[in-house]
């Protein structure tokens, strides 16, 4: 029965005849109709007798026929795929975004190629070449932090592209970001509302745009509450627990005017702050209220007490990215930066008692 393999061939090449299932031709034969009829029946197109549709459907099912998307793609000039280029090797930010993106695209039958560039421009270029070769219908860029990034030298033509949690230096491109300013405002306002008068802000490196925007939100909340900005209460540093602990040492070295509240630039910093306060015997939230940023499950839940934090709604961001790219594929154009609201998640480190009041607060 089996003819012996006539050609050993390169091992990485498939023996096509083996793997690929029945074709539309086989279905046509089985149902006793023409190829065109099968196509119409299976796509609910054209005008066919109900009985024919059923006969074809039946034959297709019996054979286990599954249309070949590649052929379809070739014909339609649309591949039903988009590429996702990520520079967040750790996945902390990319995964929720991907989840949202994918859930939206999946409904339109389009699949996502995920590529990890890990900040290597050469690698990114290669990935882009590959994706272009695969004729993706769109492109999504993601990065670890929301800062500008130079476009690598690949001609994308007018391929629909969106930058999520990441920015392009090309003003014509479209960027989707969390509302950092509003998020920080929300956190600081919550600290005010729970009685804070001396509110410090311990955050990441000032070269991050997110750090500057969050600072602005913090400042706005202070102003609104009639509180003065104090240079010694704004501490940019690193995104680490280590820095959070160190910042507490700085803030509380002179007990004179130590803060009664701290807004952290991320949850890791917040956790460091909590640990250091604990070491000093200071009660949270009794003596000091603490609010984090990111609402990173593993951090906020493990913290003692559990951490109140700002959620950037990354999954929603991903969903919106999906919706936009679909519209762009449909011919619409977008450009500029759009920001989506953050949400305050209240837990015990600050204001859990005022839960009903603030839990739903959203920025913007």
């Amino acid at each position: 029965m089996n003819k012996l393999p006539p050609d050993p061939a390169p091992a990485t090449r498939l023996d096509r005849s083996q793997r690929s299932g029945p074709t539309i031709r086989d279905v046509a034969r089985a149902a006793g109709v023409s190829i065109g009829t099968v196509s119409k029946a299976l796509n609910n197109a054209g005008t066919l007798k109900q009985e024919t549709r059923e006969r074809v459907a039946e034959a297709a099912r019996a054979l286990g026929f599954r249309p070949n998307d590649l052929a379809q793609a070739l014909h339609r000039g649309q591949s039903f795929t988009v590429g996702l280029i990520s520079n967040d090797s750790f996945g902390r930010f990319t995964m929720p975004i991907l989840e949202g993106l994918e859930s939206v695209l999946h409904d339109e039958r389009i699949a996502v190629f995920m590529c990890n560039a890990t900040d290597d421009p050469e690698r990114e270029r290669e990935h882009l070449e590959q994706l272009m070769g695969k004729r993706v219908d769109g492109l999504v860029f993601t990065a670890r932090r929301a800062d500008r990034r130079p476009s690598v030298g690949v001609n994308l033509g007018d391929l629909p592209t969106v930058f999520v949690f990441s920015q392009s230096d090309d003003p014509r491109s479209f960027c989707l970001l969390p509302d950092d300013e509003g998020g920080a405002y929300l956190g600081a306002r919550h600290l005010v509302a729970t009685g804070g008068r001396r509110i410090a802000h311990v955050t990441g490196p000032e070269r991050f745009e997110a750090v500057r925007l969050r600072r602005d939100g913090y400042r706005r909340a202070l102003a609104e509450a009639g509180l003065d900005w104090r240079d010694d209460f704004f501490l940019p540093g690193e995104w680490s627990e280590q820095w959070g602990r160190q910042a507490v040492d700085i803030l509380f070295s002179s007990t004179a005017a130590a803060p009664d509240s701290i807004l952290a630039g991320n949850d890791q910093i917040a956790r460091g702050i909590l640990d250091a306060l604990r070491d000093r015997g200071l009660n949270v939230p009794g003596q000091v209220g603490v609010v984090g940023f990111d609402n990173w499950g593993v951090m906020v839940e493990a913290a003692r007490p559990r951490l109140t934090s700002i959620d950037m709604n990354l999954s929603t961001l991903g969903q919106e990215a999906g919706r936009r790219i679909l519209r762009m594929i449909g011919g619409e154009h977008f450009s500029g930066v759009e920001r989506l609201p953050c949400t305050l998640m209240v837990r015990e480190s600050c204001g859990a008692q005022a839960k009903t009041l603030f839990q739903e607060a959203r920025s913007t």
Copy 2:
């Protein structure tokens, strides 16, 4: 010149003529040769005059020609794509695996469709259908924890499939896992080597196979050191910091025979242990040595002191998965379970002083 669009059509359909770049036909025209010649020239196939090759290459470059992989795939019956189905929505384990997998596959010009099933069988089935439609050349399954999983009812034919960090209940399938037993053995042996005599093991739920295997490795190290197994020193529970803290309360409630070393089932538990020991005023590693499992950067670095931990080498696991699937695509067959060694990463929570001796230790 342009004829007006005769059909407004669904907005999500591409206007093909716009987007797709030059075809091989355009190159042929530009270079003044036939289509077949262009194909040969670009693929270094057949036998062509050197000058012709160059002329074609030049024309292709000038036009910015990029071969259409879809057409190629249709012809060859190989799509140069594989699907990755992940059930680890959090990404903690999937990302490193994906990174390794992708780096290997990328070199063979094959791209990865990433699909998130988040433990929803229906969703997984849909993804599989979609991937089959796209004629992926292979399939990789990943899960959050290395436990058996039922196969969803989709006929995969003889499509090359590998389960990484995850298992199938079909004995014919191929599974790639970390050597949990060996990893735990490594950790426990290290605790022995640094002077531990009363070594406890605080870990996750016993229904996880990984928990049982790690327990076995722990037991083997004890036996090898002539130490007795003690039921009260083996504490299965949850994968949380909370549980780590609680376990310390249990272990040290009677100061009588408290442990001098603790092997944790993961880094979160280990971190909880460290915090609780600290609360009790116990010095690590002076009074109690602690070893974690996972070597999760954000945990081990933030811990005080920094955490000695077992690395499962997930990226390597992903690479191996990539190599195997390539070989399977090439026609080879694999089945059964294979385990790759873990590595001990020594830090201050136990034995950093003995660094040179154990840092490179590998299981198996």
